[in-house]
């Protein structure tokens, strides 16, 4: 359960180009469902995602994660929580170029210092479940968009997070791949994970998987279905 109270986020604070991306958000996100943040670009949905996912601290307001206040935590502790709780799938996939697929999947677990063999096995089985076992040792820049996204999904799952966050996941995919992605989403939701997406793709918003759509405009919530 994620609770946001009075969240406001500013960039370039104190300078002439000060800009408030979020202007007072109050939201409760229930676990184990698929929620979509919908809105035009500039509406603040990506920023909201970063605040919810503990990637950034709100300028004012409180974030509660399973009852624990995370907005006053310094980076070290916030990162620890984020690693355990959230998995991210970025719009641009953001895989490290020059590194193999399996290593990319293992990266988020490096700072934890866990056993290498075990980690490699886990990464391998994740890639298998996403039908990428034949691509384990391939360099990511040689792979297609769809394959890259599935690697990104595997990477997001390596630390077994309870919440998956995806930013505009279908923006770089054609219809067939988008449908495939929604299929994966469904199976992930079926595993009991919470999913948070941003999208302005009708395919996603109107999909049967999606339980709730929160509409944003100018840093405020204007609709909640």
């Amino acid at each position: 359960m994620i609770e946001l109270a009075g969240i406001r986020k500013a960039f370039n604070q104190g300078r002439p180009n000060e800009f408030w991306a979020l202007n007072g958000i109050d939201l409760k996100i229930a676990p184990q469902q698929v929620t979509v943040f919908f809105g035009p670009s500039g509406s603040g949905k990506t920023t909201l995602l970063t605040v919810v996912g503990c990637l950034a601290r709100p300028t004012t307001g409180r974030v509660r994660l399973n009852g624990r206040d995370t907005s006053g935590l310094p980076e070290r502790f916030l990162t620890g929580i984020r690693r355990r709780t959230f998995g991210f799938i970025f719009q641009q996939f953001n895989l490290v170029r020059g590194v193999t697929a399996i290593e990319n999947v293992m990266l988020p677990a490096y700072p934890l210092g866990s056993d290498w063999k075990e980690l490699k096995e886990r990464a391998g089985s994740l890639l298998d479940s996403l039908k990428l076992s034949h691509r384990r040792t391939a360099r990511v820049e040689w792979l297609s968009g769809g394959e890259q996204q599935r690697i990104a999904i595997a990477r997001a799952l390596i630390n077994d997070p309870e919440v998956l966050i995806a930013d505009e996941p279908t923006a770089n995919l054609d219809t067939a791949l988008s449908k495939e992605f929604l299929g994966i989403l469904e199976s992930l939701a079926g595993q009991g994970r919470s999913l948070l997406l941003t999208s302005h793709d009708p395919l996603v918003v109107e999909s049967s998987v999606v339980r709730r759509v929160v509409t944003l405009r100018d840093g405020r919530i204007v609709g909640d279905r």
């Binding site: 370039n12 604070q13 104190g14 601290r57 310094p74 980076e75």
Partner: protein
């Protein structure tokens, strides 16, 4: 002034250290004035980012101080041929009035930096960084100490004259010499040994107690400091005699030479490490009651105390081994 690579290196290192600490001093002031962990404002985020830089810099300063301390003593030893009457570092440090003060200042800075790092570590264990203001206040307090040590070192090198006549360690550390070195040397062996073993035993005992019971950090700090003093005194007054197997050679520096199989390292390294740990354990003690550190602080304190106990015990063992293995007989019945 003597123009010599090691001296240039040492002066550069201390100036760099002072420059680094002075450079971040304004940021430390900033942190003290505006820190508010609950806030998410950009200023707070920027302050948090700055703290990483300051920690890294101070770690570099500590590491540099340690190496510089070693280099300083070695350099003094190597410069012995330049001074009439000097045969080891003792004489070279005595060649002008700033030598020993510079050495003691550097040792003090080393311990201060170790204490700071311990406090810094404890602070980062708790999500609300409770000791931030204390930490950076301490850092500001260290700046003058660092500057003073650098200045003393500079004055020492500046005033060194190659043809000044100095005394060799047999004069500086002779029972008849004036000043502290003479007094330490003149201590008779038996009471000296009792004081030595007594203080070290107290240090080991109190450190072990704190390690197990997680209480009593202040006592550890006091006994560590006392043990450090007792150990150095012991080395000068009787331990060196056993190592050199000579009833009049009291020098604490010659033990580091290759001629004596570098035995000095086995003594000094555990001693300095143990003292640093013991002092740090004491430095953490005031913060044990801080709510967010209730669990972490005693744990760290106990680990440091444990390290101190091991260090002092090791030092005592090595010292005893050296005494027993020596062919010198100072007190009837105490060797062979």
């Amino acid at each position: 002034m003597l123009f010599r690579p090691a001296i240039i290196a040492l002066l550069l290192a201390s100036s760099a250290n002072v420059a680094m600490v002075l450079g971040v001093a304004p940021y430390a002031v900033d942190v003290i004035r505006h820190w508010d962990i609950r806030s998410g404002s950009e200023r707070q985020l920027s302050l948090e980012r700055r703290t990483y830089l300051m920690s890294v810099l101070l770690s570099v300063v500590l590491a540099t101080q340690l190496l510089a301390l070693l280099l300083f003593v070695f350099n003094a030893d190597r410069m012995a041929p330049l001074f009439v009457g000097a045969m080891c570092a003792a004489g070279v440090l005595n060649a002008d009035a700033y030598g020993y003060p510079a050495l003691m200042a550097q040792i003090a800075v080393f311990f201060l930096a170790a204490i700071w790092l311990a406090i810094n570590h404890v602070d980062t264990l708790s999500p609300d960084y409770p000791l931030v203001r204390v930490k950076y206040g301490l850092m500001l307090g260290m700046a003058p100490a660092l500057a003073a040590a650098a200045l003393l070192q500079f004055l020492y090198f500046l005033n060194l004259q190659a043809d000044s006549i100095t005394s060799c360690c047999s004069r500086v550390f002779a029972a008849s010499a004036a000043g502290l070195s003479g007094d330490l040397t003149a201590l008779p062996p038996r009471p000296s040994m009792l004081a030595f073993y007594g203080t070290l035993a107290a240090a080991v005992a109190s450190s072990a107690y704190t390690a197990l019971r997680r209480r009593g950090g202040y006592v550890v700090a006091v006994t560590s400091l006392a043990a450090f003093a007792a150990a150095i005194t012991g080395i000068i007054s009787f331990l060196s005699l056993y190592i050199y197997e000579h009833p009049n050679h009291h020098c604490p520096f010659c033990v580091l030479k290759s001629a004596y199989a570098f035995q000095g390292y086995w003594l000094y390294i555990p001693l300095f490490a143990a003292t640093a740990c013991g002092l740090s354990a004491g430095a953490i003690q005031p913060f044990v009651q801080t709510p967010s550190l209730r669990g972490a602080a005693p744990r760290v304190s106990s680990r440091l105390a444990g390290a101190a106990a091991v260090g002092f015990a090791l030092f005592t063992l090595v010292a005893t081994f050296l005494i027993l293995h020596s062919h010198l007989i100072l007190i009837a019945g105490v060797t062979q």
